[in-house]
């Protein structure tokens, strides 16, 4: 008996060898198949989002790009070396000489703390990484996390199919890649993840009415506030959303629970960041949230009284009394607050979003940044490609199936698209909304098309997560009266959709490779024989500064290069990218635009030892200081009326050749940029002193410097460093 059982057991175990993976796949139930496909797709999307951002690391090296990330890198380095307490209370005397800067209280710590935590974790797991590697790869890591959040968000708004498409779209969307490539160690890399995460948690809280989700969204908001100044978008969009829900009559108890918990806890948590301080109760930009908070209390109180009274007549009178009382108190408080100046008005940075012409007239520093210019249609097409026309299609689908969640995504999409039109930089904020809404369009369309195909009884296509349970009834009905070419039409349209999506993928990869993967600090060009030529002048100059100047030397340059000089050159600078003190920058601008004697006086008053100038005339590099010079004049002239912009122009035209204005030909910037350039032959067949970036022969070739002497010029003349001579000995 026992032997027979054992034999049976042996037989059964030997007659069922493990099937090969493909067969094993088809043995699973449909639900498990679907789960496997979904998880596999998400895993691939996760890896894709990380991999597509690695172009510059593979082409050049693992380094930090641009200007702002160098400040973030320097602060992260300080944080890992000196600990959180020193970081939080750091006063930096190496920038904005002689004023210094309270770094601990004027930065958004989220990015640095995140990178430092990842660094600590990796070190704890005994991976001996350098903090620079962690900083370089932080943004791609968080981009991958954003795709996961986009999946869950899409699932919340529409269904899991839309979530998958959204994750795939946002993984390669150029609008997002532009600020989150490897090496772009900037606040936006982490902030977009925090933004989408907060929105997802809030929508989840509104959908479920649970205090736990609202608490989670408050923490998400806290992370966003710690990461980026763009949190003002959240604190204005969410009250606007609540207001829209109230006005359209979709309010419910869940909305009350979600918003109140998120607002109070979020506000308290946000005020822990020193840089934000008391802005949530004192700044005009945050008053919308407070206003909606009080409005909600009044609204729901009235709702509760109406429910309790059950009598229309009495309630009307009560309503009248309370409303007049509440509105008068609110208006009075707002009026007194604004008039007395306690509630500060909208700051220039955000006011220029509502009134795009404001910055050009009043705040030249904001207007001068190239990322703050209004967006052209070509930028939209470049950054969004097919998503641009899928966006209205998605809006149509959202309006067809309105719910609390779709109303939110529609509002997010529309407001962020408006702001993206005002400022190029804000395409980044619009990217997640555009991806989500386009995903809805794609998912809904493909779902309809595949259901049309499936009704013909063909072999079921292994589509991911697009079940047609609700469409079966309508599909059956349509099968009875099906058009003759319906099946073929559906297949043709599906092929068309597949073609569009593949073109999108090709476009995104090309854009990332060509446009968004340049480190800006290392320049590349094609040589005469097609080989690649690398210009590493920036780092050459900074390391020269680091190794050949005294440790307490002060360097004057335009504010663009401040962060890089302190981070890589390790020297004190006069002004840097933080641009918190307009007068100090205007002083530097005035020095650069004045004749040499006056400039020398200003430089003596600032204790300047070295002056650094960027010059692109030899290489044809067009982002140099001569092209930025008019902004120096404008900013300097904004504070010191002695600098007048028309003095440097000829008939309103900016020239550097013989016909240029005399003040232009003799100002400090011109002299420093073109010193000894008159002897150089830059192009075959052109006269000496031919400026390749402006395309003209310079006007003043015989430049003599009286108070400065040339200290260093890099190998391609891109950076030129001059030493300020001490004053002449007196008789």
């Amino acid at each position: 008996m026992g032997a027979k059982a054992a034999e049976n057991g042996a037989k059964s175990s030997s007659s069922a060898p493990s099937p090969p993976p493909l067969k094993a796949f088809f043995r699973l139930k449909t639900k498990q198949q679907e789960l496997l496909i979904r998880v596999a797709s998400l895993a691939l999307i996760y890896v894709l989002a990380f991999a597509v951002r690695l172009f510059s690391v593979l082409r050049y090296e693992s380094m930090i790009h641009e200007f702002d990330p160098y400040f973030n890198y320097r602060t992260t380095l300080f944080l890992t070396r000196n600990g959180f307490y020193e970081f939080w209370n750091w006063f930096d005397s190496e920038s904005w000489y002689p004023l210094g800067r309270i770094i601990g209280g004027t930065l958004y710590p989220g990015l640095m703390v995140t990178a430092a935590l990842i660094y600590r974790l990796l070190r704890f797991l005994t991976f001996a990484v350098h903090i620079r590697e962690v900083c370089v790869l932080t943004a791609p890591f968080f981009a991958s996390n954003t795709t996961i959040v986009a999946y869950f968000f899409g699932k919340e708004i529409w269904d899991s199919g839309a979530g998958l498409v959204a994750a795939a779209l946002i993984a390669i969307c150029p609008g997002y890649i532009s600020r989150s490539v490897a090496g772009s160690y900037d606040n936006e890399g982490v902030a977009i993840f925090a933004l989408l995460f907060t929105f997802y948690l809030f929508v989840k809280a509104v959908n479920t009415g649970s205090l736990a989700w609202a608490l989670a969204s408050a923490f998400g908001y806290f992370y966003m506030v710690s990461a980026w100044g763009g949190y003002v978008f959240i604190i204005n969009l969410i009250p606007l959303y609540v207001l829209v829900l109230l006005v359209t009559g979709r309010y419910s108890m869940r909305l009350y629970v979600a918003y109140n918990c998120m607002y109070i806890l979020g506000m308290l948590l946000a005020m822990q960041i020193r840089f934000v301080g008391f802005q949530h109760v004192q700044s005009g930009e945050h008053m919308a949230a407070m206003g909606v908070f009080f409005l909600l209390q009044v609204f729901y109180f009235l709702d509760w009284v109406k429910y309790m009274l059950n009598d229309k007549q009495l309630f009307q009178s009560f309503l009248r009394i309370t409303l007049t009382f509440a509105i008068s108190v609110g208006a009075l408080a707002l009026g007194i607050g604004t008039a007395s100046g306690y509630i500060s008005p909208w700051t220039g940075r955000f006011y220029s979003l509502l009134d795009p012409t404001y910055a050009k007239d009043h705040i030249p520093i904001i207007a001068s940044v190239s990322e703050h210019q209004p967006t052209a249609w070509s930028s939209f097409m470049f950054d969004f490609h097919i998503l641009l026309f899928l966006f209205p299609a998605g809006l149509y689908f959202c309006f067809k199936r309105l719910s609390d969640a779709t109303i939110f995504i529609v509002m997010y999409g529309l407001t962020s698209m408006y702001f993206a039109g005002v400022m190029v930089r804000l395409i980044l904020v619009a990217a997640p909304a555009v991806c989500l809404i386009s995903a809805i369009a794609i998912s809904a369309t493909v779902k309809n098309l595949t259901s049309l195909i499936r009704t013909k009884g063909k072999a079921p296509l292994a589509v991911s997560g697009k079940g047609s349970s609700s469409l079966k009834a309508s599909a059956k009905a349509s099968a009875d009266q099906s058009l003759p070419f319906q099946h073929n039409c559906a297949i043709a349209l599906l092929v068309g959709a597949f073609y569009l999506l593949s073109r999108y993928a090709i476009h995104c990869t090309w854009v990332t490779s060509e446009a968004y993967s340049s480190p800006s600090i290392v320049l590349a060009a094609r040589g005469a024989h097609g080989g690649r030529v690398i210009f590493d002048d920036y780092r050459e100059a900074y390391y020269w500064l680091r190794q050949n100047t005294p440790a307490d030397a002060k360097v004057m340059s335009w504010w663009d290069y401040g962060y890089q000089i302190t981070a890589m050159g390790n020297r004190t600078v006069i002004v840097d990218n933080n641009t918190w003190n307009n007068t100090h920058i205007a002083t530097v601008g005035r020095a650069m635009s004045s004749y040499e004697p006056e400039a020398y006086e200003i430089m003596q008053s600032l204790d300047v030892d070295y002056v650094l100038v960027v010059f692109g005339g030899l290489t044809g590099y067009s982002s140099d200081d001569i092209n930025k010079f008019l902004w120096m004049v404008r900013i300097g002239g904004g504070v010191f009326p002695v600098i007048k912009e028309p003095d440097y122009l000829v008939n309103g035209e900016y020239r550097v050749d013989k016909g240029a204005a005399p003040k232009m030909l003799n100002c400090l910037m011109y002299k420093l940029a073109y010193y000894r350039f008159g002897e150089m032959t830059t192009e075959y067949g052109k006269p000496t002193g031919y400026d390749r970036a402006r395309g003209v022969e310079i006007g003043n070739k015989d430049i003599k410097l009286e108070y400065l002497e040339e200290a260093f010029t890099t190998s391609n003349w891109i950076i030129r460093i001059y030493k300020v001579k001490p004053p002449k000995n007196r008789w």
């Binding site: 649970s210 205090l211 109070i264 506000m267 005020m271 009274l309 009178s317």
Partner: protein, 125 residues
């Protein structure tokens, strides 16, 4: 025909009688609410009163450690708001929350209050 004076008197009288009828009807409706909700309402009133006292004190003394003032007021307002959320979730007449067990609502309430007071203690300075 009523004179203007008589009309005025009648309107005033009707508005006061209106207010009285309102008050009475509110009172009777409120008496019907269950005891646990009344306890929560009492707690809310207590929290709001404490907040008002703090604001009045600030008005008298000045707002110097503004973070302390904000921490105090926001802790009162926050706990009042959380209590109202608890009341909403526990109230049996709310059809949206009928699947939510009151223990879960109370646990959420406790968690949120914990976070609120931890942040307040950090903010008090």
């Amino acid at each position: 025909m009523l004179t203007f004076r008589e009309l005025e008197f009648k309107m005033a009288k009707s508005s006061t009688s209106d207010a009285q009828a309102l008050f009475r009807s509110l009172r009777s409706a409120y008496a019907a609410t269950p005891t646990n909700l009344k306890i929560i309402d009492l707690y809310v009133v207590y929290a709001i009163t404490t907040a008002v006292i703090q604001v009045v004190y600030m008005g008298i003394v000045g707002s110097f450690p503004f973070n302390s003032f904000l921490a105090g007021v926001l802790s009162c307002v926050g706990t009042a708001v959380l209590a109202v959320c608890l009341r909403i979730q526990v109230n049996k007449e709310n059809k949206e929350f009928k699947d939510l067990p009151p223990e879960r609502a109370f646990a959420d309430f406790v968690l949120c209050n914990l976070v609120l007071h931890l942040v307040v203690i950090n903010f008090l300075g």
